[in-house]
Symmetry: C2
Subunit: 308 residues, 2 copies
């Protein structure tokens, strides 16, 4: 069984490869819920949805999130009403949030709702929220005292302001989903997906017991660098790392993960760093990590599962 | 100024005529909110929306509710998820509920939100919710002990079960919207729209102070019968009146309204009841009340405003 700590788009692409490289029923994605929030009264879980849409072949491949063949009539009408439309919710995508909100208000927990949704999308692997409790990733930016909601920073402000601090509100009192912890305890491999280390992976690592579990199982832990040639493939990972005083390179990634991950998968473009990564006590694995197509992702996954 | 006590479809048709018969800025619709409810976490106000869509020319004229040129992609996707889809929410219609929910959660009251929405729809008359408080119309049906939500009875069960009781939960402690009461106190005419007397008009009448105000101003009150030739033009008004032991005819309507309305507008088909209506101390007004087109509605409104 392979457990994958997952954010959104990058993780989804890797998972799409992984479920073709192994028996998909052996894959357990443990997904960040720190970006989850309420908008217009609806409960929205961006990373869970991106993974669900991607694995079901229903993602908008151009954007990497949202649904394919989407229509935008609700947003168009909401715009005329003067409503908040910067967080784009397509008509088909809305159904997922309507369903989740209805079920949550009926008392269903997020893991149960997620199972119902992923079953309806005929997903063959297991997709778990990291917790059923509320953890909210908050971002402090320059020249503003208050903490911003993740989505306000990430979508509304397009991750443009300089970040001075990131917090994971509620993480200390949240409980890791039992099924997720069980998976981490027995997994043959634990893969840290090429997701934003600060915004997507750290919320998972911030939950009580996760780091201790990874430390214990360090030989089984493989991190895939989301940074290639000094830049994130997508999103602001490199920018935020730099703003928080961390090196925006595979070395910065090594520094974040070396304590509890034995392997670091880096792209061919970063081969020059192999020595330094080894010096930082991680084992570098040099592969083509830029997942331009699902087949490339499958090839990458096949190489990675061969490691252990 | 003309105040109109309004339900949904029937009232909307009449208002559509009325705003062409007089200066539309002199029309104030006081709208039933007893059917309002939450679904999928969204605040839905069916009667307010039907009136808004109708007066803006954006209603689905075939159904009488919902929006014209609507798409149903959210419902289609929700169906695949196994969600509750018996209450049909079109993609464009959803925007109204998203907006209202967002504003309500920001602390805006329903009258303010309604003003924002009707302004966005360029409505020239005033549309007021009867109250900012929660009043919930509940229906008891045969062979069930619990009270049903109005929409469950009306839409899910298609108003088919036999009704044994209708209640307006919260009406005693709700306050009539001040602007609505002010309008009733000074209106040149108060018109009771041809809406369901039990499900649409009675929730308004049940609010503290409304009946007293109408009693005081009885000479200015004109009710339009929603029953023509022993049947409701639309919906289950006749059926429910009969089930509750009331006569499903213009005489049953007269009995409900005679205490506080001087005039009862009835259709030409019911001319035979004129004498009995006069005997019940109302003044019968015989007109063509079946509003087959907006022009017919305008003609009807012109006749009615001539009465006082």
């Amino acid at each position: 069984m392979i457990a994958v700590l997952s954010g959104g788009v990058g993780a989804a692409k890797f998972l799409q490869g992984l479920v073709k490289a192994v028996d998909e029923s052996e894959v357990v994605a443990i997904v960040n819920t720190g970006d989850d929030w309420y908008l217009h009264g609806l409960k929205i879980c961006p990373d869970l949805d991106t993974i669900t849409y991607t694995l079901s072949g229903q993602v908008n491949t151009e954007m990497g999130w949202g649904r394919a063949n989407e229509t935008w009539n609700a947003m168009e009408s909401l715009e005329i009403l003067g409503g908040e439309t910067w967080f784009r919710l397509g008509d088909r995508d809305l159904a997922t949030h309507l369903y989740r909100t209805q079920r949550a208000q009926s008392g269903a927990t997020l893991d149960v709702i997620t199972r119902e949704i992923t079953e309806a999308f005929s997903i063959g692997c297991t997709i778990l929220p990291m917790t059923n409790d509320t953890v909210s990733t908050k971002v402090q930016i320059e020249n503003r005292a208050d903490l911003l909601d993740f989505q306000e920073y990430f979508v509304k402000l397009r991750a443009e302001p300089r970040v001075s601090k990131v917090a994971y509100q509620g993480c200390e009192s949240a409980s890791v989903l039992k099924e997720a912890m069980d998976a981490l305890l027995i997994a043959d491999q634990i893969i840290i997906a090429p997701s934003n280390p600060i915004l997507s992976i750290e919320p998972i690592l911030s939950l009580p017991g996760i780091k201790e579990c990874l430390l214990e199982r360090r030989n089984k832990v493989i991190a895939i660098s989301p940074i290639v040639n000094g830049k994130a493939l997508k999103g602001p990972a490199g920018k935020i790392m730099a703003e928080l005083g961390q090196e925006a390179s595979v070395l910065g990634i090594a520094k974040r993960y070396r304590e509890f991950a034995k392997y670091l998968v880096i792209d061919n473009l970063d081969i020059e760093y192999s020595g330094e990564i080894r010096n930082s006590s991680m084992e570098p694995v040099v592969l083509g990590t830029v997942m331009t197509t699902p087949d490339v992702a499958t090839g990458l996954a096949k190489e990675i599962i061969r490691l252990i």
